[in-house]
Amino acid sequence: MRNFTIAALAAAALTAGPAMADTVKVGYMTTLSGSAGIIGKQMQNAVNLAMEHTGGTLGGQPAEVIFVDDQRKPDVAKQLANRLVKSERVDVVAGVIWSNLLMAIHKPVTRSGTLLISSNAGPSPLAGKDCHENFFSMSWQNDQTPEGMGKYMEEAGIKSVYLMAPNYQAGKDMMAGFKRHYTGEVAAEVYTKLGQSDFQAELSTLRAAKPEATFVFQPGGMGINFVKQWHQSGMDQVSNLYTVFTVDNLSLPALKDTALGVISTQTWSPDMDNEMNRRFVADYKAQFGGYPSFYAAQAYDTMMAIDHAVAKAGGADTDAMRAALAAGGIPTTRGSLAMNTNQFPIQNVYIREAVLDADGVATTKITGTVFENHADVYAKDCSF
């Protein structure tokens, strides 16, 4: 009797099968709680906006997005990834802000035969020796952005630079990427505590060293602290400030005119002039009151990439979607995006300056292009 019930249920499931399979399921992982919750909130907003723009579908198929909060903890992320893959049976796992979390879920997701698309983190192992055919990046490889800054400062003829970053892996990666293209003198390389709130002691030392330029990577709240204190200590008269992932549309509302004129490199900016970006930025501002950050843009791009892949594949078939994404030509807020052999984007790196827009709101504006079609250095180590 019991066997019969199971068989009947299985038959019912089979007949219901085609209708079920039509729904494209995406598991979207980001950090929604804790002090980094603001980043996750922006990404969630952008994903919802993308779904609104596609009319609730992905590639013309009905779609469902399941948001999960990784709490910025690798163990929680791993648990959630397993749940998404095994019990929710999603077609794509996407999102992930932090490199260490992405490393934790990379194997369980890709080995299960599910596609994994990063909206932010781009650790070097996943671009090189540990790359996997089921993993794609819709953001950048960690080194690409600081490499752009290294080249820019090299070409600007800057003789001496003072480096400062938090003491953790991404901080060291950023400085290594910078030095790959900058050959001038490094006056000092200072690593601060992760999560440090007061940089006055470091700034006093910097003032005494009088470097021509200072290059800083201080993401999130640390960036707000650093730039505020830089300004308050009158460092503008001592050295010129250049940053990556420090002055952006997340920190600018808290900094306002304090950060004006600060130069950064980035692969995206709200003023990029293409149809998709204009629509994304205008609708984001209208709906959520304020500029989207690059995190939001990359989250939006991730959904657009899935939309593109499902449409080209004619359904949520993993092999066909993988082929569609690997072929590149993905429509994003950064224009049509090409994919490298390691499935990281080949893209331009721009110089951005913090400015006030027509309404007097602080934002960033592209003032030049450092790299055109820039590929990361790790792709040569990657073979599937």
Binding site: G37, K193, A201, E202, S204, A208, A254
Partner: protein, 306 residues
Amino acid sequence: MSFILLLEQIFNGLQFGVTLFLIAAGLTLILGIMDFVFLAHGAQVMIGAYAAASLTALTGHFYLGILLAIPITFASGYLLEYLLIRHLYRRNHMDQVLATFGLILFFNELIRIGFGPAALFSSLPPSLSGFVNILPDTPYPLFRLLVIAVGLACALGIHLLVSRTRMGAMVRAGANNETMTAALGVNIRVLRRLVFAAGACLAGVAGMMLGPLTAVEPGMGEPLLILSLVVIIIGGIGSVRGAFIAAILIGIVDTMGRVLLPVILRSFMGQAAADGAGPALASMMVYILMSLVLVIRPTGLFPPKG
């Protein structure tokens, strides 16, 4: 390292120290005199910073914002004691830890609901964003000097209040023998409430002064809470004088460690190894100091008498 830079770093350490003292002063009284384990003191810092930043934005005046924020932090401490804390005095320490840890989560979430998860804008008025030459050709931010001055003034005020006034005598008596003090006609419950509110207010003032310097965001007080607990342990639990000396000591040790350790390590090991070990060791300095003090004087530097 030149003398001028060394002096500047001592000022930086002093400024960090007095900020820690403002947080630790109230906490050491709550912990030592009231024998109550209170972990949500960092939330009082956050409340102070948010009150000052939002009232400054609302009124358009920095000083008016601060002036209005001070009674708010006092009232928040007073209300918190009245509504919740007074019911916990007779409970054991574990219950107090659980309840006040819950308060941390509660306040962080409350701020997030009220003000959103993003950091709040806060800056200095033009009149305070200038520089003062502490030595010829050595500019130092005016606001940081003001922080030092306010911190020292508060320290002097607390010292006089506790050691010279009738009110202070009651607080000290209450700490020594609560039942006897109550029997002599002192309303010990009101006294506790006032001490608690004053402690919250001092932490709030620390938050107000941190606001223009750092990011005003949910959970901003927690890293400071841990350091102020270290201050209390080094200073001797319940001693305001000990908290003051320990706070200045920690401020200077932490600052000097961050600045000098990488330089010292670089003189006898490779650049890469020094860059890695320097910051790691610097962030441990404060705790190493605490361990040393505890080995030599298990009750802290200035344990209260009685």
